[in-house]
């Protein structure tokens, strides 16, 4: 059993400050009234115990909104190619919610399985995640309904658990233990009673989330009812923006584009989303997902269906950001439940 520690808020902040010596530290920061993950210069900039979740997940520190994959220039009459520098700086993601930490693991599955994405892999290698267990659920939260937990350890190297008047710090991986290192001088060991707090939080938060669970078998129902007419109705008011995908901890789609002028340029990878018509628009003019309904269905199914086995987790981690921020009030969990109900009642082939 790993040793865990009990820290006062002052000790935690002191530790956070000490992390800045050797790492680039990314923590929740309030900017113009918006809570966001930002690189901090000193511990006092960080919001250690925020009242809500950050507006979007910290995925941009592993999978940047835009990054150059290679650069080129035309010098001396030839084309010269240049690799962007590999990310070498060690970074700590501090105060990541359990759902967001799981979201990073879902990104790993995309970028590190099969052909490893070298820029992502380099960043991931150099990243240590310090997660914070949630003491309370926000109105939009539904992690427990999709198989995740407010105290989940997936994706975390160190876990912080809020206690009455302090924090329990639990190194969970070698990376985490290395990060904590000998900072433990002066920290007191956590007691068994502190350890019980984890289960207690899990119970409290789970009770706050009133959503009925998404059943794992529904994946197959959704796949069978791919052409079901209900999708037309369910996504009728989707506006076709990409708020849901860009604030999502596990959405990983991107587009390639040239940023260039007459002298030099770069091949740039930028976030993209399946809710945009251009995402699937072919050069020929054909678009296999012509309507916004088809595009929204893709997003829903990519989260809750198309899985290889029943034990594979949903790609929706239940942070609820897309529900809270959707301009049209679309709710992914309700959509799934309504689609499943319609497919079961009317049969998978009910007309569009």
């Amino acid at each position: 059993m790993d040793s865990s520690w009990k820290l006062t808020e002052a000790q935690l902040r002191e530790w956070l400050q000490s992390l800045l010596d050797a790492n680039s530290v990314i923590a929740p920061v309030e900017e113009d009234g918006v809570l966001l993950f930002r690189r901090i210069a000193s511990e006092d900039q960080a919001v250690v115990e925020p009242s809500g979740k950050t507006r979007w997940s910290p995925k941009e520190f592993l999978f940047p909104r835009s990054e150059a994959l290679y650069r080129y220039n035309f010098r001396g009459g030839t084309v010269q190619l240049e690799d962007p520098p590999m990310p070498e700086e060690h970074q700590v993601l501090f105060g990541v919610r359990s759902c967001d930490a799981s979201g990073l693991v879902r990104l790993d599955e995309i970028f590190l399985s099969g052909t490893r994405d070298r820029l992502y892999a380099a960043r991931r290698e150099n990243t240590t995640v310090v997660s914070t267990a949630c003491a309370a659920a926000e109105p939009e939260c539904f992690c427990t309904a999709v198989g995740y937990s407010p105290v989940g350890e997936e994706g975390s190297d160190v876990q912080l658990v809020p206690l009455d008047g302090g924090w329990m710090l639990r190194p969970l991986t070698d990376k985490g233990r290395e990060l904590v290192g000998d900072a433990t001088d002066g920290w007191s060991a956590a007691t068994a009673k502190d350890g019980k707090r984890i289960a207690e939080i899990e119970r409290t938060v789970a009770a706050q989330i009133e959503r009925s669970p998404v059943n794992r078998e529904w994946s197959r129902v959704l796949e069978e009812g791919f052409e079901h007419g209900a999708w037309d109705r369910l996504a009728q008011h989707c506006l076709g923006c990409s708020v849901c995908a860009y604030v999502c901890p596990s959405c990983s789609c991107f587009d390639m584009n040239h940023q260039a002028n007459a002298w030099c340029g770069e091949q740039c990878r930028s976030w993209d989303a399946c809710t945009f018509p251009l995402f699937t628009h072919h050069a020929s003019g054909h678009n296999p997902r012509k309507t916004k309904q088809e595009r929204y269905r893709q997003r829903v199914l990519h989260k809750f269906a198309f899985r290889e086995g029943d034990d594979e987790p949903f790609r929706c981690v239940g942070c609820g950001r897309c529900v809270a921020l959707c301009p049209a009030g679309l709710d992914i969990v309700n959509t799934v439940a309504a689609a499943v109900e319609a497919i079961r009642e009317e049969g998978a082939d009910a007309a569009r």
Binding site: E31, D32, C241, S242, N257, C268, S270, P327, G329, N334
Partner: protein, 470 residues
Amino acid sequence: MTEANVSVTRGETVSVPEGWQPHIVALVCNWCSYAGADMAGTTRLEYPANVRMVRFPCTGRMSPLMILRAFEQGADGVLVSGCHPGDCHYVQGNLVARRRFTIFRSLMDFIGIDLKRLHFAWVSAAEGHKWAKVVTDVTASVQEAGPLPRFDRPEGWDGIDLPEMAGSGPQELDSDQLDAIRTHLRKAASEMLTGGRVGVVIGYGAGTLPDQTAPIFITDAAGCEKLEWGHGCRNNLSTYVGSALEQHERVAVVAKTCDLGAISGLIREGQLRREHVSVIGVQCPGVRDGSELAAKCLACSGDPHPICDFVVTVDGVHESCQDLSTAVLDTPDARDKQIAHLESLPHDQRWKYWQRQFSRCLRCYACRAACPLCYCSSCIAEKHRPQWVSTAIDSPGNSTWNIIRAIHLAGRCTGCDECARVCPADIRLDLINRKLSLEVERQYGKIGLNPEEKSALVDFRMEDSEEFIL
């Protein structure tokens, strides 16, 4: 311009080197200013060599995008020059351009571009001397302004506290009154459907989060029981009218006071036919942004406007038949204090304020999607031959996107604030829109509700003001 200019905009620190000379891009019309510059050359006049010219058929062809692109690519100043009013080769191109530049200039000033960098001139083909003088003056002016500040998020900057917005908002409605409105609304909607007046009613249905609603499309009378009314009815439903008309001959839409301008705008711009849409205006208690009344509601009466076919109030349903030509949009003003405060600050502070906001932009285009008047089937942000707006989600493309979105709505935006509401990064698009509305109003008069009127920036008068033009 050189490769160095490009890398400057990509984030390296700009220092003012000894003997720094500004780069200035001149966008000139082929028929007058280009020939005027030629005349200056053949007359052997000397003037500073800082200007690089790009030739256009007409100032009317020049989009603010081209000015923004020049700044993006490292220009420190931009000069736009064309024919004198009345001399346009295409009769009126420069007159429309004059209005466009008047408004664009005020926006650039507002977001922190020192107007010493941005100049407009009328130079005819015979005015070689004037061209030389204009270039000399513009170069001196840009020299004084110094290198263009970086398009980037300012690090270690404390930010600006804007003054609080205040206002009483519309008449408050208690739950009984809201229930009464809901009952009347449901009845009116179901009568429209059963009477065959419309094929669909676009309204608000229950949402999943507290105080949230979601748009619903109702096609049978029974469904009207799902219609909701209250503080959570935030969406401007006129966004959906166009797509609903693809399936139904006539559409009814539930509208708040602030939504009506958009319907009028859509009719004015030929996107809707008045007879295809029935507007159900409903007495509005104001909508909430978080726990407080939204900014747009603070100075709003909440009363439906005469463009409505039916008006639903606590008392019942009334036919609305007032004359539109006199109606003027009830423009909210709670933000004007904030705008005035920003305008009182030096340019570098304003630049930092907006660069920080724009740096948060995720380019989710929710602002565009939610805007009823952003109806282009193919947006400039998606055109890539050439790529005017960079798709990279960082500076300076983020600035260009946000500026160009605003300028495309100048004189058309009716202040429903949907863009600002849906922005996940809380970019104060409402301040930008409001600033532009104020400027359009100051120059060309109020934006009315009359669908017969042209919007300000596609119109012109010979006597339009041009005191800033050299």
